[in-house]
């Protein structure tokens, strides 16, 4: 029975590869980038996350919300409690009603959600030629290709090839399905000034902001990888112990 099982496994792997190849037909595959959070020991690079947050705040946040992030979450990027308070205080959020029954604006606190750029989806569409800038707090998990895809979109803007018919207010992007994306190229060299002196090239900013967005989508990744390693060590030892015990006990049979 073991041989048959192996044959079926090989067939299954072949089919999985075939499915993978098929899935990539629609748009060119996003080239793979090196991310420090990949692999069993992968962790987020705090410096990259802080630079990425700066890019998000100064560039992306003009149109894109990060609906699932609170200011308090930013402490995980390596900011101190006071720094987070400072970052939060720069934003205004609606609160209330007060004693007079009126809503009012106040500086945000760490316990507040990072406010959306537009009051509602319709307002966002009106400001963006009818297109709705998607929420970014899950974007690297909500797109096939994940961080590689997000990076490819940010760096994939080109002039449309001759004869390619563009719709009004659309931009050519080689990695976007259909190649027409409503978002104009968001990054240009030296668009932000990094506090740590890192040159703000487009690939650098794209890499940093995608790192930040990957953290935003999966903030527990570091903890998960650390715990997984311990669980694995435990299970490998337990498997060995149980196997030895099984051999010992079963040696009485036959």
């Amino acid at each position: 029975m073991a041989r048959g099982a192996l044959a079926v496994l090989v067939a299954a792997l072949g089919l999985i590869c075939a499915v993978g190849a098929q899935a990539q037909e629609e748009a060119p595959p996003a080239p793979h980038q090196q991310w420090p959070f990949e692999g069993v020991f992968g962790t987020y690079d705090r410096a990259a996350l802080q630079r990425g947050f700066q890019v998000y705040k100064e560039v992306c946040s003009v149109c894109h919300p990060v609906k699932h992030l609170y200011f308090r979450d930013l402490e995980e990027l390596g900011y101190s409690e006071d720094q987070v308070k400072g970052i939060a205080a720069q934003a205004q959020v609606a609160d209330g009603p007060n004693d007079q029954g009126e809503m009012f604006q106040r500086p945000a606190r760490p316990s507040d959600r990072i406010p959306d750029p537009f009051p509602n989806d319709q307002a966002a569409r009106v400001a963006n030629n009818g297109a709705l800038p998607p929420d970014l707090s899950l974007i690297t998990k909500a797109r096939e290709g994940g961080p590689d895809y997000a990076y490819a979109i940010l760096t994939g803007f080109k002039d449309a090839p001759a004869g390619f018919k563009m719709n009004p207010n659309m931009n050519y992007n080689q990695y976007f399905a259909g190649h027409q994306i409503a978002m104009p190229p968001p990054l240009s060299p030296d668009q932000v000034k990094y506090a740590d002196g890192t040159p703000a090239t487009v690939p650098q900013m794209a890499h940093d902001v995608v790192s930040f967005l990957s953290w935003a989508a999966e903030p527990t990744l570091d903890e998960r990888h650390r715990m997984g390693f311990k669980v694995f060590l435990f299970l490998i030892v337990a498997t060995g112990v149980f196997y030895a015990a099984k051999r010992k006990i079963w040696s009485r049979v036959h």
């Binding site: 029975m1 609906k67 998990k141 909500a142």
Partner: protein, 433 residues
């Protein structure tokens, strides 16, 4: 605190326990029951590792129920709040990410294990006399699992949740005359919406406990005649059997650890391996995803469903597809009578042995078809694979049983084990162990 009066036989096997246990056991024979069913319970001594998957499935169900109950404490079954509440579990609930990833990947593990368990039953003829009801209860469990998993997949209320719910519930509209009424009833309205989510949540919480009950019956039927074994012959006495404890408790513990290694790899290092990216987009009734695909464990049924692209004898193709998709599982109920061979184990059936391996290949092919956009070659492969699936059960199984000449069966498990041990020295390991 009276122990059993002298002269009354000590209740079963609580002998050897302290006074308190014996006092209780005399009145409520719980310890005797455990002793009888999980310690002394005789099992054939030649069971191989394919027999690990039953208890493994039970343990995964326990994991699913425990994580599920805790997740339910934090989840909000409302169309406007469900998606955000799941993200809240992932971010703000202590170890919420762990609970959810265990529960999410646990579904995949559960189906993987149960499909292997099911295939083992098919290969070794575990459904044959006198285990027909045991098998049928297993198929009932599979049906309940599918329903539970489908409704669980709807709960995060992502794009794929919403559209899978739409597609699958719409299947019932193919039923003549009352189809539309049934769909409205399932939805609790005229489209998939908040009432749908609420009733799915309620049922998703209910069905696992019904599964537990059916597993109780499954075990009752199992323990009536004991496990089948790789030789497919009956045990003939104590020389053919070993007690469940310690032999299978330790073997199952080892198997559990191996399964947990795979499970842990998924949970910690590839938690979204089987997930659809679209399900991290909140449900949006106005936007249809490019490809609506179910979870991997439902892909073969989905492929069968879509393979009927034509009307036949005036019956709409959609209705035939629905009948065949459900029929692909319901046909399993009849396997004990479709297989006409008196020999249980495929090991002694030279033709059926090979044919039984074509079936999983066919099912995997159907899985690939289910995952692919239905165009071109995919449709043809799907139709051939669907045809073969039913051919296997309706034609090959009855026919091979009649035509094939099985190899001679060993006289008893004891002699076969001794022979295998003898061969081991002379000609390498015995097949299947």
């Amino acid at each position: 605190m009276a122990a059993p009066p002298p002269g009354v036989p000590a209740a079963g096997s609580s002998v050897g326990y302290g006074r308190i246990v014996r006092w209780i056991d005399y009145r409520l024979p719980f310890v005797s029951f455990l002793e009888h069913e999980f310690v002394a319970y005789p099992t054939p001594k030649n069971l191989n590792y394919w027999w690990n998957f039953g208890s493994l499935a039970g343990l995964v169900l326990v994991i699913m129920i425990v994580t599920g109950v805790v997740l339910a404490m934090h989840y909000t079954p409302h169309a406007d709040l469900a998606f955000d509440s799941v993200e809240r579990i992932m971010r703000d609930v202590n170890y919420g990410w762990l609970l959810r990833y265990i529960h999410m990947n646990g579904a995949s593990m559960f189906f993987l294990i149960v499909y292997i368990h099911l295939f083992r039953g098919l290969y070794y003829g575990s459904y044959k006399y006198p285990r027909e009801l045991l098998w049928i209860l297993g198929v009932v469990i599979l049906l309940l699992m599918i329903a539970t998993a489908f409704m669980g997949y709807v709960l995060p209320w992502g794009q794929m949740s919403y559209w899978a719910a739409t597609v699958i519930t719409n299947l019932f509209s193919a039923i003549p005359l009352v189809g539309d009424k049934i769909v409205t009833l399932l939805w609790g309205g005229f489209t998939v919406g908040n009432p749908t989510l609420n009733r799915f949540y309620s049922l998703h919480y209910l069905l696992p406990f019904i599964i537990v009950a059916v597993i109780g019956l499954h075990l009752l039927a199992l323990h009536q005649h004991g496990s089948n074994n790789p030789l497919g012959i009956d045990t003939r006495g104590p020389q053919d059997t070993i007690p469940f404890h310690p032999y299978h408790t330790i073997k199952d513990s080892f198997g559990l650890c191996v399964a947990l290694l795979i499970f842990a790899f998924l949970v910690f290092y590839a938690p979204n391996f089987a997930a659809s990216a679209d399900n991290y987009i909140p449900a949006n009734p106005m936007v249809t995803p490019n490809h609506i695909v179910p979870e991997w464990y439902l892909l073969p049924y989905y492929a069968i469903l879509r393979s009927i692209t034509f009307d036949f004898l005036g019956i709409p193709g959609k209705l035939i597809g629905v009948i065949l998709a459900f029929g692909s599982i319901l046909i399993l109920f009849f396997v004990p009578w479709l297989d006409t061979s008196r020999v249980r184990s495929a090991r002694f059936r030279p033709i059926y042995r090979w044919v039984s391996w074509i079936l999983p290949v066919d099912v995997i092919a159907l899985g690939w078809v289910g995952a692919s956009p239905p165009a071109g070659i995919v449709v043809t492969v799907g139709q051939i694979a669907t045809f073969y699936y039913f051919l296997h059960f309706l034609v090959l199984m009855p026919l091979i049983g009649k035509l094939e000449r099985p190899r001679p069966l060993p006289i008893s498990i004891g002699t076969a084990v001794l022979e295998a041990a003898g061969r081991l020295g002379a000609a390498g390991p015995a097949e299947g162990n």
